[in-house]
């Protein structure tokens, strides 16, 4: 009886101690993260990496002719939107930003600014021409920007399934999330779909009676 009391006390003390300790530290942003089953940094990195590799090797996207392009015939891309059709709140612009970053580094593509960038450019040109503060010989003008050859856009979908705890499952709950990320590339000249890729992810989680395993 006495031993049992000691063990219980020890367990209670340990639980309190474990709850009491806390820490903050920096970690490697490239580590795999499975804190929860929800969409996370590893999913972002995996989805973006798969698409980037496919875009880099796509023969249809090696070069596109346009008389105004001069010698640099690399494809000029407008990174369009990625529609979030999952049940989660996901900032899909983080995926397109990550892809754009890596594609620019790859040197395969040229990019034009998307809406936010174009708005900034427009504001700046209007400022340079209309404020009277910028030297006349250095003022930039409208009508000189390059135009995109293609638009890349896509959607992220998910199928989420949960199985509640039961006697059959030994009190554990199971969850399965499937992500499907589809990206398409359309030729602006012709409206033709010239590239499409699909990346899939599946995550499963089990929550036991005492927490996630």
């Amino acid at each position: 009886m006495k031993l049992s009391f000691t063990s219980s006390s020890l367990f209670a003390t340990l639980t309190l101690l474990a709850g009491a300790c806390s820490s903050v530290g920096y970690d490697d942003p490239n580590r795999v993260e499975t804190l929860t089953i929800d969409y996370g940094s590893t999913d972002l990195q995996t989805l973006a990496a798969g698409m980037v590799e496919s875009l880099i090797v796509a023969p249809a996207l090696n070069y596109l002719e346009n008389p105004g392009k001069g010698d640099d015939k690399r494809v000029i891309v407008l990174m369009g939107g990625i529609e979030n059709r999952t049940s989660e709140h996901i900032d899909t612009s983080a995926i397109s930003d990550k892809m754009q970053n890596q594609l620019l580094k790859s040197g395969k593509f040229r990019f034009v600014a998307a809406k936010a960038g174009q708005d900034e450019v427009g504001d700046q040109v209007r400022f340079q021409q209309g404020s009277g503060r910028v030297r006349e010989d250095m003022q930039r003008e409208f009508g000189k920007q390059i135009g995109a050859d293609v638009v890349v856009y896509g959607s992220l979908r998910s199928i989420d399934k949960k199985k509640g705890s039961s006697i059959e499952s030994g009190g554990t709950r199971k969850q399965d999330v499937y992500y499907q990320f589809v990206l398409k590339c359309v030729n602006i000249d012709t409206g033709e779909l010239i590239w499409i890729e699909e990346e899939e992810l599946r995550k499963t989680g089990t929550t036991g009676m005492f927490g996630r395993t």
Binding site: P29, T34, Q102, K105
Partner: protein, 138 residues
């Protein structure tokens, strides 16, 4: 008195374990290859090396990019979870700043998985594949 010391020691050990953060510097096995060179292997995790082996490495250059393909074989009879990551280098050995994230993967018992990697830039001529047991933030 003796019992009290034992309990204190036990408490200290358990508290340390409970409060310690994720393990750093997880040992990894690396495979370095490149255009016109043999694949070199560096083993830091012998147990993983016994379970997970890289075979049949082939490469080609197409459209100015280095394509590398190989198989990873699970020598065990049960599922094997691991993480992999690839770094790329130019001819002079300088690392090319690209995707350095670790990717989780699982191969079924006795199974094989084909992995394809592509040089991110035309300058990428050497690659380093790292394999390690899961070192997940959870």
């Amino acid at each position: 008195m003796k019992r009290s010391i034992t309990t204190s020691c036990l408490l200290a050990v358990l508290w340390t374990a409970a409060c310690s953060g994720p393990s750093k510097g997880t040992p990894q096995n690396t495979f370095v290859g490149g255009e016109g060179r043999e694949t070199e292997t560096e083993v830091a995790n012998r147990s993983l090396m016994k379970s997970l082996q890289m075979v049949n490495v082939r490469s080609k250059r197409e459209n100015d990019r280095l394509f590398v393909q190989f198989e990873l074989e699970n020598k065990r009879s049960i599922n094997l979870a691991f993480e992999w990551s690839v770094d790329w280098f130019d001819e002079a050995g300088f690392e090319i700043d690209f995707d350095e994230s670790w990717k989780p993967a699982t191969i079924g018992g006795g199974g094989q998985e084909t992995l394809s990697i592509v040089g991110p830039t035309p300058q990428a001529s050497m690659w380093k594949l790292a394999l390690r047991t899961p070192n997940t933030i959870r």
